[in-house]
């Protein structure tokens, strides 16, 4: 079975706020849920499938379903793969719809790490790797720094090349009135920002923001009755990337497998992609991912990003036109949701005007969860215009 064209994204909503000191996490889930359903022309009463990940407060999908009053549910999925969860959820929702298990799927993400900081979820002491990693003090930034260092060692990638990714994101963010960091930066400013864990500087890292987002995925017959332009789900792929029993390789991501799966299902190639949302937890995440997805040869990502390829609207691969996690928004430290939302905007022609890719027909979304320094999970989507 293929999901190609068997489900449509009918609603997408990004919470406009980046600091929300006066609300609960469940409340923000509700706001984005209602926002995405309103965008689709639907309501909570129409929802028969609910998808959420580890950011949803309470008992799997059940507490939030109860809070939202999702009384018609016949399908739930709480797949938790960190920041890639919501990219995976779209694929899972499309498969469930294609099988006739449901017709209107709601996916939500929300959280308040900025206003209500809690200690970073420490690795569970029961995780099988815990004793062999936790005592050495790995942090999120330092683990990605290990990946960056190794990529530099093997391929000659430079800090200035990584900085070019942040520069492109900041160029896009200046057109986004909601962006947390709307000011364009230069390569020098990235390199002069404080070193957090070398070779990664502060400006190689994404922002921390409150907020969230939601998506509504529907069956084609539902989409046909909606007033709103929808977006077709054409392909989906997933893959964890593991530490391989001690043979870990820090120079690539799971997108080497999830990407080809998604391209094959959609029947397209990297050269066909008009716009790409690439999860940008750190600059190195983008660099490795575009290589892994086949937009350039392995090891040549540095040269690819340094010549302006990522700049919208006319670069070879316009990316993250909302400013991405590096400049716009990174709710709950999970980037997959906002990546799908911006791809939907591009395909609807509703991105901010200076960064709207002309006649954007085909978009790719890539999420990555976990850590490039240890184990992670990639998810890739190919989305197309309604008449694709």
């Amino acid at each position: 079975m293929t999901i190609r064209g068997k489900a449509h994204i009918a609603g997408a909503y990004e919470h406009p706020e980046r600091k929300i000191p006066d609300k609960s996490i469940a409340q923000v889930h509700a706001e984005v849920a209602v926002g995405a359903l309103a965008d689709a022309g639907l309501s909570l009463r129409d929802v028969d499938a609910y998808f959420c990940a580890g950011d949803a407060p309470g008992f799997g999908p059940v507490s939030m379903a109860d809070y939202l009053g999702l009384v018609r549910l016949r399908y739930t999925d709480s797949t938790e793969t960190g920041g890639s969860s919501y990219v995976a959820h779209v694929g899972h929702a499309a498969a469930a719809i294609a099988e006739g298990k449901c017709r209107v799927a709601l996916i939500t993400l929300a959280g308040l790490p900025r206003s209500q900081p809690v200690p970073r979820p420490a690795m569970s002491a029961q995780a099988p790797e815990a004793g062999f990693e936790q005592p050495f003090g790995p942090t999120t930034v330092s683990m990605y720094a290990l990946a960056a260092r190794r990529h530099m060692h093997e391929y000659g990638t430079t800090s200035a090349q990584l900085a070019a990714i942040k520069v492109a994101a900041s160029q896009h963010a200046q057109h986004n009135p909601h962006a947390m960091l709307p000011k364009p930066v230069t390569i020098e400013e990235v390199l002069d920002s404080p070193m957090i864990s070398d070779p990664l500087h502060r400006l190689d890292c994404c922002v921390i923001s409150d907020g969230g987002g939601a998506l509504v995925v529907v069956a084609p017959e539902v989409a046909a009755d909606l007033p709103r332009q929808t977006v077709k789900v054409l392909g989906h792929g997933e893959s964890p990337k593991l530490t391989a029993g001690g043979r870990i390789d820090l120079t690539y991501t799971g997108a080497v497998w999830s990407g080809p799966r998604a391209f094959t299902e959609a029947g397209v190639t990297p050269a066909d992609v008009d716009y790409a949302s690439i999860y940008d937890s750190f600059t190195i995440t983008v660099l490795q991912t575009i290589e892994d997805l086949g937009f350039c040869e392995k090891g040549k990502g540095g040269a690819f990003v340094a010549d302006g390829s990522l700049l919208a609207p006319h670069g070879r691969l316009p990316f993250n036109t909302d400013g991405g996690g590096l400049c716009n928004n990174h709710p709950v430290n999970r980037g997959g949701m906002t990546k799908v939302i911006e791809a939907v905007r591009q395909l609807r022609g509703e991105a901010n005007a200076p960064v709207q890719v002309p006649d954007c027909q085909l978009a790719l979304v890539n999420g990555n969860g976990g850590s490039l320094g240890t184990r992670s999970a990639a998810a890739t989507l190919i989305l197309g215009q309604e008449d694709a």
């Binding site: 004793g131 062999f132 005592p135 003090g137 190794r150 864990s197 001690g246 820090l250």
Partner: protein, 140 residues
């Protein structure tokens, strides 16, 4: 320049019945990995199953404690037990026997560090029975 890792915390590892022998060996200054009794693969981190051939027959195997740096970073922002600690080096060391393990590099200045640098294990006392296998530049 200060030496990264000076006054480095040595938090105790979470342990369980699967890893008790590993940590007991660290108190004797021995570094163990697992070896698959069916396909001979050396396995890191240690576990009861071979992720290569699915065998449940694995045994402890003592390695030399020598290797080289596969990747490293000087982390200026410790968290948890390392909150507020001076900068320290997080690294992967590739053991001479093959497996790559997460660890810290100690007794080295930041300027000494490079991918490929030969290193040897040292054991740091957590004060709770287990010793952390960390690595310093090889003293040949």
């Amino acid at each position: 320049m200060t030496t990264p890792g000076a006054a480095m915390p040595a938090p105790a590892p979470p342990t369980n019945p699967e890893t008790t022998q590993f940590w007991a060996a660290t108190a004797d200054g021995r570094l163990l990995v697992k070896r698959c009794q069916d396909c001979d693969t050396l396995i890191w981190y240690p576990r009861a199953i071979c992720p290569e051939c699915s065998s449940l027959r694995t045994e402890w195997f003592e390695v030399s404690g020598r290797g080289s740096i596969y990747s490293y970073t000087v982390n200026n922002r410790g968290e948890g037990a390392y909150q507020g600690a001076p900068p320290f080096v997080l690294a992967y060391v590739e053991l001479d026997e093959g497996p790559r393990m997460m660890t810290n590099i100690v007794e080295a200045s930041a300027a000494d560090l490079e991918v490929g640098l030969p290193v040897e294990v040292v054991f740091h006392d957590t004060g709770q029975g287990a010793f952390l296998p960390r690595f310093r530049p090889l003293r040949s």
